[in-house]
Homo-oligomer: 420 residues x 3
């Protein structure tokens, strides 16, 4: 790979490369191919931001835990005796052994399988044997990881001094409240290993320019693939009717359409450092759920009293997005898995009382987003292959259709500069 | 790996290593093991030379294409509406996605599967949608790759300013004419991934010192494994008879034996920078084809009117050789596939009108060169394993049997110096 | 990986990292994760020390050979015409090809399969063909590797000028004599590829702090898991009785218990550079063999005239340990296999006259150490995973239970400094 790295003008060895990016055009090749950039992405983006970990409903009782693997770090997210969630590094303070092997499970204590050092669910070292008395147990708690929860979503932050979360909470909490993710259950989750840099996955997520050909089932339900410049009058009328319908019906429940135009809502906002957002968006008439035929596929969730509530959409950089319909919620989580590799998990959630086979069928619940996911991962891997070529050079974004991709790139470069 | 790198005497960081090679002896270890040398090989040899891509008969009509993967580059070789072949980088000018997924196929246009930017078979951007009018389509053609065709063989050159091809054309065109590769078809191709540096594969190809033990079936047909110093009088007589027979019989067809001695013809010629050559060589009496029993295994190709035409042999550095008998042709193509890995394809071609099962059987057509290939790849991988040892040190070439290996090494080092 | 590398104070780039290690605490992360440290381990430890290769009984007659793969080097250990063992690099002096492919076998000469250069079993070049007369065969012997044998154990040394072996011989020869490994045979060997640095494997081997939970079958037979501070009076009494029993019964055979306390014998001794040791240790009453139920599982070996001889235990850094009972011996050999990878072979040996199915059953012979091995490799891989975390920081060793782990680390760092 030949790196078009200009002479360095500052202490940051990447500053020249960062500065070489032409606004409105795709990133230079090394951002997608160079292991050193991948390392910098981990240090400057992933280890300085809030990462979606899992849903709090996955950890119902004290001792329920789940592992989250971020790069070489393994983090235990566990519910304590006091009912609150905590995140702890899965590294014994004795010889450094991992403590939990299984990706999820239940424990009464966190006991290292090597020499049985025993930690409480809050990470405090409770018992060891054979250690000299001059050492003090209180110096050997499991190292903790910052954790915040909002409306059933669990986020962690790997840095010692985390960036603010309050803005995200203020934004997402009211949007999440009616969806009832705290009273949800996971119907299914699927893991993917995608051979593409995580930024390629986000760039794919941030535009619906590819939806016409790429997601034939998705565009039947949504208006995202139209933009101000190419929305036919009929579609504009439909969209306006959908918004009006939402305003009329949802008001009684305190809901409101917050995205009122075709095309994707603007996100992220690099200028103001906004890494989270959410909105309630109308669906095409006749669609009450992001299912293959638009019909409800599970019991109503949360506070919903009727099906026609559009979709709640949320996203948080660098690793989370969610589309929630009246009856189910679909979460996507990205985790870096080495250069040109992204580990992706997709969850389908339904009301906690819903019973498979009686209240819902996976064959009806899953295809809409499983197809969309599969289609996107193929696209992302193909783009990575092309970008790896010596012939790759940055290309232009459509200003009408890829404004959010440009927004993502700006946000990313801002992080790279800010955390250099 | 310990690198015996002497102090640098010039701007090229490899110049000391290159200079440390003792003439007549094998290359120092790093040339076979160091990823930095592999990178230099790509930059100084593979990206500065003509590479055999495929046979033009594989792409019969407009829109027929084949991918050639060189290092991280994917090149589309495609026949245009005008009937001529072109080579284009398989990288969309928008977001860099690969365009073609399948290794071969037929297309009417080259449409990027991501956002449907549509290119003509000549690489010109024909259509995009949603892009701002201030951008001009003519600035976004697919990046082209130089292509030359001679007698049915397609070569490409990845550099912007390619080295001359005319000498190769002048040499190979008349030799190729009677073989009729333009009117051939591929009976079969086989792909191999050999765990050895590409230079090890070439060094193996450039001597028949290993043939006695290594290729028991090959030496029944050929005289290569004898050399001036060890050709028994009987064999010398046979060779002379074969040459005389060729001179007598082939003259009417304008053919002539161009290699008249036992042993391999001299190639390459580093002193004069000759990277291609070809010759017509007699086979052992009784052999009219490089088949297991020497008998014809397919209909006559090209202009041949009788079977006894010896073999046409051609080779072009860094990645092509071919042995053609009266009835079939066998091509071998090397492509680098990372340090200590070489991707090799072997093709068997017959007359385009020949019908499998009626005119030829793969079981008769393939074994001679399939065995030879398999035997050589095992040898090459074994040599790579040995060279990886800390105990490896350069050893001496036989001046009577490995003169062409020395010639190859000189040619290679000349390239490495010249393109530093 | 962030490396807490202090400013360099000497010519050795690792000296700062080495000096940063806090005595009594585990090694800093890079020692377990950094490929450059792995390289230094190879150069400073593995290539400067005696390595256990195999058992001499595996190579009974002239021409019997075995390959030992150390890093990228392949070494042929072969018995010569004169009955003595030699070690030779498996690299032909011509083009560097490996000579032997199979991991073990029988040859009359060492003939390179590429061009048939033929070497004697002592490595001298006997025959080549086609080479120019000005080259002399005596300059092209296979490069030899130092080899020493003691009591049926074969050690090799890759350096030109090996470190002393006489101390090891003086220590181990008398201990080995009654065990009769020269008159043994391999009943079974098993190969493992463990995803952990070799030092993690040794640290695991050097303490029995993990045995209570980790090796439930092992602790039924042995006293290792007790230490001076935690041996209950009853166990102390049992140990004393076992020692007294050994003294009384073994004296007639010239044997003696050489480890008379619970807990592990001290090894290694970094201060005096001792890399080998051995001792005869009593087993728990009722146990005469390290088998699942403590009963004899094969005929008596060597000079033993009764079963109750405790266990002979030996170890040699960096790659060997052995536990021998009256009836069988179990050897473990480590070989580095890249960063965070260790290739491990475990051998079970019995008397050479023992016949499987008649005199012993693998199902009785193997489980005790196969379980112990499997349990340890799981532990080691889990520790490697934990150490890879950014949250890993050195932890304290138990002074009463991990004194030998501290001893190993000191020995290792001494090697790293001494051979810088």
């Amino acid at each position: 790979m030949t790196h078009p790295v200009p002479a360095l003008s500052s202490a940051d060895p990447l500053s020249g490369l960062i500065a070489s990016r032409r606004p409105g055009w795709t990133l230079p090749q090394p951002f997608f191919t160079d292991p050193a950039i991948h390392r910098a992405d981990l240090d400057r983006v992933w280890r300085t931001g809030w990462l979606f970990a899992c849903h709090s409903c996955e950890l119902r009782g004290p001792g329920d835990y789940q592992l989250v693997e971020v790069d070489t770090d393994s983090v235990i997210v566990v519910r304590g005796e006091d009912g609150s969630l905590r995140a702890l590094h899965n590294v014994c303070r004795h010889r450094g052994s991992a403590i939990c092997d299984e990706p999820r499970g239940h424990v009464s204590k966190l006991v290292c399988p090597y020499h049985q050092w025993a930690y409480g669910l809050d990470g405090r070292l409770l018992a060891w044997r054979g250690m000299q008395p001059e050492l003090k147990k209180e110096d050997f708690s499991l190292r903790s990881v910052h954790l915040r929860e909002v409306g059933g979503l669990v986020f962690i932050h790997l840095a010692a001094d985390p960036s603010p979360f309050d803005g995200a909470e203020a934004c997402l909490a009211p949007l999440l409240r009616p969806q009832g993710l705290l009273r949800a259950k996971v119907a299914k989750s699927v893991d993917y290993l995608v051979k593409a840099d995580w930024k390629i996955v986000w760039e794919n997520n941030r535009e619906c320019y590819h939806c016409d050909a790429g997601h034939p089932q998705y565009i039947r339900a949504n208006f995202d693939h139209y933009n101000s410049g190419d929305t036919p009058p009929l579609v504009r009328t439909q969209m306006e009717a959908a918004v009006a319908r939402g305003e009329a019906k949802w008001a009684a429940d305190g809901l409101a359409p917050t995205h009122r135009e075709t095309g994707m809502t603007r996100f992220p906002d690099a200028g103001r450092g906004i890494w989270y957002s959410g909105n309630r968006t109308p669906l095409v008439e006749g669609w009450v759920s992001e299912s293959m035929d638009g019909r409800q596929v599970a019991p109503l969730m949360g506070d919903y009293r009727e099906a026609d509530v559009g979709t709640l959409r949320m996203r948080a950089l660098p690793n989370f997005w969610n589309h929630s319909s009246c009856d189910h919620a679909v979460t996507t989580r990205l985790l870096p898995a080495g250069p040109q590799r992204t580990a992706i998990r997709v969850w389908w959630l339904v009301h906690e009382d819903a019973v498979e086979g009686r209240d819902y069928e996976l064959a009806q619940l899953m295809p809409f987003w499983q197809l969309t996911s599969d289609q996107d991962w193929v696209i992302c891997e193909r783009q990575q292959r092309g970008i790896n070529s010596s012939a790759y050079e940055p290309g232009p974004y459509s200003t009408s259709k890829e404004y959010n991709v440009e927004g993502f790139v700006r946000w990313y470069l801002e992080r790279m500069k800010h955390n250099a």
